[in-house]
């Protein structure tokens, strides 16, 4: 088998690679290693040498970085990535299953007539071909796909894998690339990055989620109170977001965030598989719901059937009492 080149689209802030990027690099390493292949990361957004170092110590051999941060535009980004894929003859491209990754990956797949599996939990090489396990049927099932065309493009669900332990002895080079901007067809009128809560959700150790059962946006105030006591981050079910009770960045689920906390307290959340797909990685789920038939009780390890409006204040009191 010839050496497999794997490309990872890394996302980062100016100083730090996102956790999912490091998961992608870990997966890339796993796929490239057996054939003695190479892992390259592309960073098109804001970055610094810190980010490069992080990616390299996380498993990348090379970082292709835009000299200047390229504002997100799917046409520009896809053209730039596509060019790099051809140039490096990458056999696999791994995106995060994020709002940009799931925006770019299918476009790239069609642009290059490759094959694609989105929403993956893992991938492996079998008989020289990429085999990916992905989440489907609203989180109820998994499918395993063999990707038969080159390149194989994958989007990886955040929280699916553990990043490699950083190895600072690793060395790698950073090569600068330039954007292919002539393809731009869309105009950005406004970008609102309203809060960082969404990003914190994915790394939080304790998460409190609210759903339709809260009865309205006011219920979330009670959750925030509890969250501040526990150092937790508040998230929400899809319905609560769709009803406008909280911003979509708080959504936990198949089309929202994937969380992997030690403790997830789900309040007034029925537990549709859509939602559970986003919190299945929680170590302990506590469900509080007035509806005893809510399917969440089947997924929770601790359940309370009751009215959250009565319960939460008592829980707050109790924590207060224990802390004092």
């Amino acid at each position: 088998m010839s050496a497999l080149r794997v490309l990872v689209l890394a996302e980062s802030s100016a100083t730090e690679a996102t956790p999912i990027s490091l998961e992608q690099v870990a997966l890339a390493r796993k796929l490239a290693e057996p054939s003695g292949g190479q892992v390259s990361a592309i960073v098109l957004g804001p970055r610094s040498s810190d980010v490069d170092r992080q990616l390299i110590s996380g498993g990348a051999d090379k970082v292709y970085a835009a000299e200047e941060s390229i504002s997100y535009d799917p046409d520009v980004w896809v053209a730039t990535i596509s060019h790099l894929v051809s140039e490096t003859s990458a056999g696999v491209v791994i995106f995060g299953h994020t709002s940009s990754g799931s925006d770019l990956a299918p476009r790239l797949a069609f642009r290059l007539s490759g094959s694609i599996a989105t929403n993956c939990e893992n991938a492996a090489i079998e008989n020289g071909m990429i085999v990916a396990t992905r989440v489907c049927y609203g989180g109820k099932a998994r499918s395993v796909l063999r990707l038969s065309r080159n390149p194989a493009i994958i989007t990886l669900r955040p929280g699916s894998l553990t990043p490699l332990a950083p190895d600072t002895s690793r060395v790698g080079e950073t090569k600068s690339i330039s954007a292919n901007t002539e393809k731009a067809r869309s105009k950005l009128l406004e970008r609102k990055q309203e809060d960082v809560r969404g990003l914190r959700l994915e790394t939080a150790k304790v998460v409190i989620g609210g759903g339709r059962g809260l009865g309205g946006p006011e219920g979330f105030k009670l959750l925030e109170q509890l969250a501040s006591k526990l150092g937790a981050v508040v998230g929400a079910s899809r319905v609560a977001c769709d009803l406008g009770w909280c911003p979509p960045s708080m959504q936990i689920g198949l089309t929202g965030k994937t969380i992997t906390p030690d403790l997830y307290i789900a309040v007034g959340i029925s537990g549709a598989s859509q939602h559970m797909a986003g919190c299945a990685g929680a170590k302990t789920i506590v469900a509080i719901n007035s509806d005893a038939k809510a399917p969440i009780f089947a997924d929770a390890s601790i359940g309370i059937v009751g009215d959250y409006k009565e319960l939460l204040p008592k829980i707050l009191d109790e924590i207060q009492r224990l802390n004092s």
Binding site: S115, G138, A141, G303, I304
Partner: protein
């Protein structure tokens, strides 16, 4: 203005989880007898988005299109009952093809026959395969710009303006028509069919095109090796005190003992 909405018929994703069953021998989901298949909810929201545009631009014509078996007429009828004007069934396998390349290719050929059009709307992903591949593919094959994950869609002066949902916020994007936009669940609930539109629906035009008429062999890009339901090994312990206070105490102790808080 002509708006095309691509929709898909799927097994009802809201049925009791206990009824969801996979036949591992054939790698397929076992249909629940007696339970009607439905329109994929994201696609239903795409119709909603189209109808909201139509409310502001009454001359707009909304055409619903699907790739599927004869039974998929039901989801087209659903779209017409919501208020769409016309429908096209592209005959194919039940619930469409699992290969996004094949689906996009077949649909793009059909859509070319419906040209000229201004806007294509569809759900961000089908609620069965949850892949989210076909829409972008369609835009690529048709050579038009596309915007993913819309929370709202507005059309004005030959442009479409989309509020696109990001992981941590929104962006407002403008692209020139013709364009394709995928609709996310943040669009909010779709309207229910009302009786008057439903009564009219059977008299609205519904075309049926045999697939060979529009198909171009795209070649498979993937192979399904296995479909399975992950095993859950959880047992829920229900805590119940005689009062909310007692229950709260029991819970907090338990979490404290488990070093979770």
């Amino acid at each position: 203005m002509k708006i095309l909405v691509c929709v898909k018929q799927i097994q009802d994703p809201e049925i009791a989880p206990g009824l969801f069953k996979v036949d591992e021998a054939s790698n397929s989901v076992v249909a629940v007898p007696g339970i009607a298949q439905v329109i994929s909810p994201y696609d239903e929201q795409a119709i909603e988005a189209a109808l909201r545009i139509k409310e502001k631009t009454p001359e707009a014509k909304v055409v619903v299109i699907t790739l599927g078996a004869a039974s998929a007429r039901d989801v087209l009828k659903h779209g017409l009952s919501m208020g769409a004007d016309e429908a096209v069934l592209v005959e194919g396998p039940k619930n469409g093809s699992a290969d996004g390349f094949v689906t996009a290719s077949v649909l793009s050929e059909a859509i070319k026959k419906l040209a000229p059009f201004d806007l294509i709307l569809t759900g961000r992903q089908s609620a069965d395969l949850d892949a989210g591949v076909v829409a972008c593919g369609l835009a690529e094959l048709l050579g038009i710009p596309s915007v993913n994950f819309a929370k709202s869609v507005d059309v004005s002066d030959g442009n479409v303006v989309v509020d696109r949902v990001l992981d941590n916020g929104f962006e407002k994007i403008q692209v020139q028509l013709p364009a394709l936009v995928t609709v996310s669940n943040e669009m909010g609930p779709a309207r229910k069919p009302n009786l008057r539109e439903t009564m009219k629906a059977s008299r609205k035009p519904m075309q049926s095109w045999p697939q060979n008429d529009v198909n171009k062999d795209a070649g498979a890009s993937q192979e399904l090796i296995r479909l399975y339901v992950p095993i859950k090994e959880k047992h829920c312990e229900i805590i119940g005190g005689t009062s909310a206070g007692e229950t709260a105490q029991m819970l907090v102790r338990k979490l404290r003992d488990g070093r979770l808080i």
